[in-house]
Structure formats: C-alpha cells, structure tokens
Amino acid sequence: MNPLLTKFKALEDNVERALIPFLVLGDPDYKTSLELLTAIAKEADMLELGFAFSDPIADGKTVQAADQRALKAGMTTEKNFELIKELRKETDIPINLLVYANLVYQQGIGKFFRLAQQAKVDSVLIADVPPEESNEFEIKARKYKIQLIFMVSPLTNKERLQKIENKTTGFIYYVARLGVTGAKEDLKERSLKHLKEIKPLLRKPICVGFGISNKEQVRKVAEAGADGIIVGSALIKIIEQNLNKKEDLIQLSVAFVKELKEATRYV
C-alpha cells in the first residue's frame, strides 16, 4: 500500500477523516509560504499544493488571485519544487500537487514526475487532464511512483465513475459543486446526496473539495461519507486579508485549520 492509502487507513482506524488544506505554493511569497505551510502541516493530515498558472480555468477568483501573487513573487516550476523540498524537511504528511497540464507538458512529462518524486510528492492531480487524455501522464507517474488523482462531479454518471476510479491510483477528488473553486455558504444538498449514493460503490478513498468554507460544512461532508475534505479558497482568503500582517496571516490560518480538523474527528 502506498503512503497515501496507508494514511487513509490509519485515519479510518482512528475514526476520523482527512483534513486537507489547499494553498498555492509561493503565495504570497516564497518565504511566507514556507513558514505558513510548515505551521499548517502540523495541524493537517495531508496538504494539497497548487502550482500557480496564468490561466487556471478550473479555479475561481480567489485561487486565481493567489496564482497571480505567487507568479508576481517570482514562483517558477523549479522554485515550487525547491519549496516542497524545504517543506519536506519539516513534515512527512502526504503531499498532493494540483497543476495544469501545460506546466507538466513544458517540463517534459517524465521530467516533471521525476522532479515530483525527488521532492517526495505523493500524488498529482492535473486539473485539465480527464481520463481521455491521461495515458502519457499515467505511464510516467507509474514510472516515478507518483499516484494520480482524478476528479468526479455531481454530473458524473456511474459508468464514468467506474472508469475514473480505475484510473485513479490515489484518491478520487469529488467536486462538491458545479462551477469553480470558491468559498460558498451553502453546500448543495444535491452534491451531498450524490456523494452518499456513490460512496458505497467505491473501493478507493474519495475526498471532497470546492466550496467548503467552514467547520459545519466539513462535518456535513464527513458525515456524507468523504474520506477527506479539501479546503482552499476559504483559507486563501485569510492570506488575502492579511497580506501586510504576516504574523496574523500565519496564526489565523493555523487556528482556522485546527478548527476544521476538529470537525473531522469521531465521524
């Protein structure tokens, strides 16, 4: 079993679900990002880390603004991996990358996964690579022992769900609402219902993201059967609101993650 699945198993044995914060590497800058991630890693079960991209079509305004800050701060693919390597000295929790296809493609697919392996990354989700286009990526991911994550949505039918599960070597990423990432007050009942329906059909862990912004929602999603809950935009908003107060930025973020983590226990 790979470390990622081992982690899910351990959490399950402990009657809790994974809390997975999402942040963009280098947001708002390299140094702050490293400090922030180091602090958050102590409270979270896994991390999802985004590579900033100029045209993030699967993300909403909050994440796009984070991407822009990171790019402005000079983040590159090389620096992203450097940052992960430094972070790895401080934490051994699973790290999942969220990237766009062109960033992988421009490195050379093989080289990208090799760099990921060297940085001790566990898994990669390529936001704009559906199973129809994933063959080349799968071959290299397998070679460098990186797990591949694929998305499903409330519109995914059962046949396609099976196809996607077969491709996934890590967990399945459930997009909890139609539309792009972004903190939303109400999590659609429809998504929760669909999640409850498909959960018993799956052998692999399923983690839920998009639009989850507070502990009540985390609890609801956990109770609906999610093995992990991903919180991104709501966390990034804390960065956005504290750009000039680095200490607050880190303290508030850590407190928020702690609070969310509490909601994943004893489910």
Partner: protein, 394 residues
C-alpha cells in the same frame, strides 16, 4: 487519428466538470450533421437572415497597382458585418436541439459577441457575453450593439483583460451552468468538438468562394489569403480549396509591433515563445514562457490578439498544406487605408492583415490570381484606426 485530434494537435483537455457538456455537444453535433432537417433550417436562416451567399468582388484598382488579380470574399457583407455569424447561428441551433435556453460566449473584437447576441435574439434565447475590459474600451460600439440586441455584458478584468481571460471566465460560468447553458465558442479553438464544429459551420465560406471564383475567373486562385487569430475565417475559406493542392493557402497572423516577446500574437513566427502547449482545452501552438505560463499578446486588432492558434492550423502547417506568415500593425493599417481608398471597402483591422500582407509581398504574386477572405467590415474599428493613423475625429 485519435478522436478529437488533428495529427498530434487538439484533444479534450478540460476539467471533469465540463466533460459531460462537451460529450453531449459532440453527440448532438454528430446527429445534426446527419439530419436533413437541421441542414435545411440552417441553410434557410443563412439565406434569409444572414444574407448568404456573400459575393466575391474583383478589386480592379488594387489589382492594377500590385500587378496581380485580387478577389475578395465578402464576409463583411454578411449580417452583423463578419463571418462570425455563420458559426453563431449554427451553434445556437445546436443549443436549441439540446434544449438549452441560455447562451454564453467570449468576444475579443466584439464581432463574435455581436453575432452571438444576434443569433440569441433571433432564436429567442438568453445571452451573456464575456469581454475583457481592455477590449470593452477599444470596441465601445460593439458593446452597445450587443446590449441593444438584448445581451448582458460581463466585463472581465482579470489577467490580460482581453480575449484570453474572457475565455477563462466564460469557461468558469459554463462549469457552473452546463445543464442549462451552451458555451458558444467563436473560433476554431478549445476542446473537441469545437475546432471541428466551428470549421464545419465556417466551411460555407470556402464552398461558396470556390464556385464563385470558378465562375468569375474561370480558374482556381493561385493563392488564398486569410488572417488567423484563433483561425475560424481562415479554416472556413481554406476548407473549400484544401483538396486543390496547387492552391497556396496562406494564413496571416498578427505581427503587432514586431516579433518581440509580448508585442505580437504570431504563434508560428516566434521560435522561442511560440511552442506546442496545452491551453483552453487543446494541444496547439501557444505563446508562453519557458515554464508554460501563457504570454500576454498585442495586436492593433482585438480579434487577433490571442496567444494560441486553432489546432487544425498547427496540423495544416505541419503537413505543409498551408503556410503561415505575419503582418505587423503597420502593414495592417496600410491595408486598411489602401483598400478603403482604392476599392471603397473599409475592412476590419483583422481582415486588413491579409490585405496588408499582400501589399507587402505583392511581388511574389505577380500575374497570379489571389483570393483574400475579407472576414469583416471596419466600421467597428474607425475610432482605433483614426487614433493609430493620427486623424482626429470629433
């Protein structure tokens, strides 16, 4: 060839949330092509509402001056003033077929936005147009035109604030509204089936032009020239001549202020930034930095101001069936002025790139028959052209 690909170019690089929508679209597109009633309805609208066939015009004065026989395919005379309406009507009919009542679209110059708003008004559908704030500023008349046609304008002020980010925003809208909304993409770009589908609806240009020039000139042209942004007007006219191997097919990209990073939109002309990449659903040539971050571009014409080219053009270039070159802003303005003065036809700044290219390279075409796709009319560009040419209008 792999489904959705032109050789190694194309594909369906989309987030999972949009996959059911593009798959549904593909199915409906396939069934519509085999449905005589659909074709009949489309043809009827193109004839009675759009005003097709558009004529070809022989340019007597410019031909004498440049020493070649120049014909224009007059897409500027299609309803709404550009070729964009062909695709807008076609896709809006498909949307109706899917039972979708709302249409969204991106626009650069505004021509596609106007065409979409027009198609939506004609077919009684809801319409929202995404447009960069930079483009809104330089295409005010078209913005008003779209509003008048009943469309909502959604200004986009993220990133480049031009076409590239208008597409990003439209895709985001679509991800949240796929069940009720059709994304009416305006160029031969994006994930499968868009490049193939847009080309299908624009092929009417090439089909008509071939018949017309055979009738008027008595022979095929030696060369067909069209401007290439995403490349829908070019692919539309090229398709009519693609099997006639002796006809040179020339696509003209926007050279902007010259081939320097961020100062142009000529994907094939920039050996450093213009590389194969994956953007907006498709593997194709795109201007980018070494890591793959997409470049901002520049062109005097908003319609060509885009970082990627349609995948089928990348394929035609690789197969050496079409050739691609560029015209700078200056070449374009020269074409704009000359065609207006000599022939009494004010071209869109996009189309003026094709005219400017011929003027610059006319020696190469001596005594030859050249067909230019005049993809749109220039009324929308008067303000910007007057500024560029240093003419004050009060």
């Amino acid at each position: 060839m792999k489904k959705g690909y032109f050789g190694e170019f194309g594909g369906i690089f989309m987030p999972e949330t949009l996959i059911p929508a593009v798959q549904q679209l593909e199915q409906v597109f396939i069934s519509a092509q085999q449905d005589g009633n659909f074709k009949q309805e489309l043809e009827k609208i193109l004839k009675e509402f759009v005003g097709r066939p558009t004529p070809i015009t022989f340019c007597k004065n410019l031909s004498e001056q440049l020493g070649c026989k120049i014909y224009l395919k007059r897409e500027d005379l299609a309803h709404t003033g550009a070729h964009k309406i062909n695709n807008a009507i076609g896709q809006a009919l498909l949307a109706k077929r899917m039972g979708k009542k709302r249409i969204i679209a991106e626009t650069g110059a505004g021509q596609h936005g106007v065409a979409t708003a027009t198609a939506a008004a004609f077919l009684g559908m809801d319409c929202t147009i995404y447009m960069g704030t930079v483009d809104i500023e330089r295409q005010k008349q078209n913005v008003f035109r779209m509003k008048l046609l009943g469309a909502k304008i959604h200004p986009v002020d993220s990133g480049s604030k031009t076409l590239k980010d208008a597409i990003n925003e439209a895709l985001r809208d679509w991800a949240g509204s796929v069940e009720t909304t059709h994304y009416l993409l305006g160029s031969a770009l994006g994930p499968h089936p868009y490049p193939e589908m847009v080309a299908y609806f624009q092929t009417v240009i090439g089909k008509e032009a071939k018949k017309q020039i055979l009738k008027m000139q008595g022979s095929l042209p030696d060369a067909v020239i069209a401007c290439v942004g995403g490349g829908s007007n070019a692919i539309g006219i090229f398709k009519g001549f693609i099997r006639d191997k002796k006809v040179r097919l020339i696509g003209v990209e926007a050279g902007g202020r010259g081939i320097k990073r961020h100062h142009h939109a000529a994907r094939f002309a920039d050996p450093v930034a213009g590389r194969l990449g994956i953007i907006h659903g498709s593997k194709t040539f795109v201007l980018q930095d070494p890591d793959g971050q997409i470049d901002n571009t520049h062109s005097v014409s908003a319609g060509l101001d885009y970082s990627a080219v349609g995948p089928e053009h990348a394929y035609l270039r690789k197969k050496k069936r079409a050739e691609y070159d560029f015209a700078t802003d200056t070449d374009c303005l020269k074409g704009f002025e000359e065609l207006s003065k000599q022939e009494g036809i004010i071209p869109a700044l996009e189309s003026a790139h094709a005219v400017g290219y011929l003027i610059k390279h006319h020696a190469e075409f001596k005594d030859q028959v050249v067909l230019i796709n005049l993809s749109g009319r220039g009324d929308k560009d008067l303000e910007i052209a007057s500024k560029e040419l240093g003419v004050k209008i009060e």
